[in-house]
């Protein structure tokens, strides 16, 4: 565990230096990578550690975005609004988990996917509160310059990413993490060995929601205008999953590596092939699933095995 912690410290310290480059573009990209890193790491709690194929990230993200936005609409300062978004997402995830986690496999996946749709419709219809289909404007944070604003959000996302990573690290090397691994390998055997499977699964699901909720709220403040289809987009869920698959679900750094790699690829495509952007995204996903289901980090393992002496 210590080794992972030290690597993380170095990694995040390096990332923190990014604003020194002065490039607004890199800063924006960096903020996006950190945000998706949070989503991917969060998904890892329920999808990677516990083994439940959750598509609920979009639901938590959207919920967090609107909670934060609505709170700020009523004059709550941003930091507090973001925290309350996280708390709301946490509670929602816990309750939802109690209901849905008795389902397995496909049924769980679909139910979790559908939740985002239902939430989107609900938010859409609560026009007085959320602006419905016309969207919601957020107060623009008072800051000295556009650059300062960009730096501000970068550091907020960085902080959130660090917090998520820390949570992941502590969970992995704890009784909870061990129990989740047992559940993922064989849930009924884990039950028979004394693991309170409901408690552990719901905890993992709640953890998969809280940071995503905050990320959604921060995102809303960052772009200062949101609409239901933007933030309840199922692509958030799918991208989070694909990033973890890309980076490797088993390792601590997999989600972050996957997020960085995926978004870099996406940026290249976005700039060069705008028309076929979704199509190429789809192609990337297909190639990944067919040829690299264990992720980039396993690729290095495989190469190592072929190259090195044993």
């Amino acid at each position: 565990m210590k080794r992972d912690a030290w690597i993380a410290v170095v990694l995040f310290a390096l990332v923190a230096l990014l604003p020194l480059s002065g490039e607004a573009y890199w800063l924006r990209l960096g903020t996006t990578v950190l945000m998706y890193g949070v989503l991917a790491m969060s998904w890892n709690f329920i999808g990677g550690m516990a083994g439940y194929p959750s598509f609920a990230v979009a639901a938590f993200f959207g919920l967090g975005a609107y909670t934060g936005a609505v709170a700020q609409k009523f004059g709550v300062p941003p930091g507090l609004a973001w925290a309350s978004a996280g708390l709301t997402a946490l509670l929602f995830a816990a309750l939802l988990g109690l209901a849905l986690l008795r389902l397995r496999g496909h049924y769980f996946a679909i139910a979790s996917l559908v939740v985002a749709e239902v939430l989107r419709e609900l938010v859409n219809s609560m026009t007085d509160l959320t602006g419905g289909g016309m969207g919601l404007n957020l107060p623009i944070p008072a800051m000295s310059s556009v650059d300062a604003q960009a730096r501000y959000f970068f550091y907020v996302m960085l902080l959130l990413a660090v917090a998520t990573f820390a949570a992941m690290l502590f969970t992995r090397y704890s009784k909870l993490g061990f129990g989740l691994r047992c559940i993922q390998q064989n849930e009924s055997a884990a039950d028979m060995l004394g693991v309170d499977t409901t408690l552990y699964k719901v905890s993992a699901f709640a953890l998969s929601g809280v940071f995503v909720g905050v990320a959604g709220a921060v995102y809303a403040s960052w772009v200062y205008y949101i609409e239901p289809p933007d933030v309840f987009d199922v692509l958030f869920s799918v991208k989070a999953i694909v990033m973890v698959l890309l980076g490797g679900a088993g390792s601590m750094f997999g989600p972050l590596v996957g997020a960085a790699a995926f978004l870099s690829l996406e940026e290249l495509v976005w700039r060069n092939y705008l028309d076929v952007h979704t199509g190429v995204l789809g192609l990337m996903i297909v190639v990944l699933v067919l040829f690299l289901p264990k992720g980039l980090l396993s690729l290095s393992q495989r190469l190592g095995r072929r190259g090195g002496a044993r």
């Binding site: 704890s174 061990f178 390998q185 009924s188 055997a189 884990a190 028979m192 060995l193 309170d196 499977t197």
Partner: protein
């Protein structure tokens, strides 16, 4: 000797089928009781009801004086009821040591990390799997997996150990080894209920035998008496054989 496990009129239905029908049974602390019966008699179902995998459709299960009928499996495990499985289910992606450490942690109540691992190593040494501690559990042979099951069961610090056909698939030498293990465990004060088909095992280990047939408890008593009990013979070999035996005896 006080009763550790008491079953009162336990029935388990699956749809219209009564897998276990009105079983009343008492196991005293320190006993080694054998549970036998033809295939499909309901033995594994009974163990499932005791451990909470299937709730009883009727009747009560008491453990150490406490009513545990409605408890979930993990709660039964934490109260000191351990079981092994007929078809062995280790955690395939984890090492042998981690498998046993899991048992020590969750049922045995030890802390994560060194305490659980140390306890796990102890039990691995006891069953003779210490050298394989860091091997993947999926790589073990059947006999080794059965010993891993033992180690896991012991790491749960059980008061009652339910063994479900631990000897299935083992050769004669391996069965003898398993017998020795069980004897040692029993000598340490663990109460044992063993489902078994091999008569040699049942006769040499058990102080008392209980016979199940079509979900009902048809006979109960000392080993020698049970194997000569006409109802038991009838259950295993059929009415005609029992009748013929009777007539032969005169």
């Amino acid at each position: 000797m006080s009763a550790l496990l008491e079953l009162g009129g336990v029935t388990r239905r699956f749809g219209g089928l009564r897998a276990v029908s009105d079983v009343t049974l008492s196991v005293a602390q320190g006993e080694v009781v054998g549970l036998i019966g033809p295939n499909g008699a309901g033995k594994t179902t009974l163990v499932n009801v005791i451990t909470g995998v299937h709730p009883a459709s009727a009747g009560t299960v008491r453990f150490g004086g406490e009513d545990i009928t409605r408890l979930r499996p993990y709660q039964a495990a934490r109260r000191g009821i351990a079981r092994t499985f007929q078809i062995v289910q280790p955690f395939p992606g984890m090492t042998v040591l981690e498998n046993v450490a899991a048992a020590a942690m969750f049922a045995g109540g030890l802390s994560y990390g060194e305490p659980a691992r140390a306890e796990a190593m102890q039990h691995l040494r006891f069953v003779g799997l210490a050298e394989l501690a860091d091997q993947s559990a999926a790589a073990l042979t059947l006999a080794m997996r059965k010993r891993l099951e033992f180690a896991k069961g012991l790491a749960m610090r059980p008061k009652l150990l339910l063994l479900d056909e631990v000897n299935a698939g083992l050769n004669a030498a391996e069965v003898d080894q398993a017998l020795e293990l069980i004897r040692t465990i029993a000598a340490r004060g663990v109460t044992v209920l063993i489902i078994e088909h091999l008569m040699k095992v049942v006769l040499s280990l058990c102080s008392r035998i209980v016979v199940l047939h079509h979900g009902e408890l048809i006979a109960e008593g000392a080993p020698q008496a049970i194997i000569e009990d006409p109802r038991v013979i009838q259950a295993y070999l059929g009415k005609r054989y029992a009748k013929a035996q009777d007539e032969a005896r005169g």
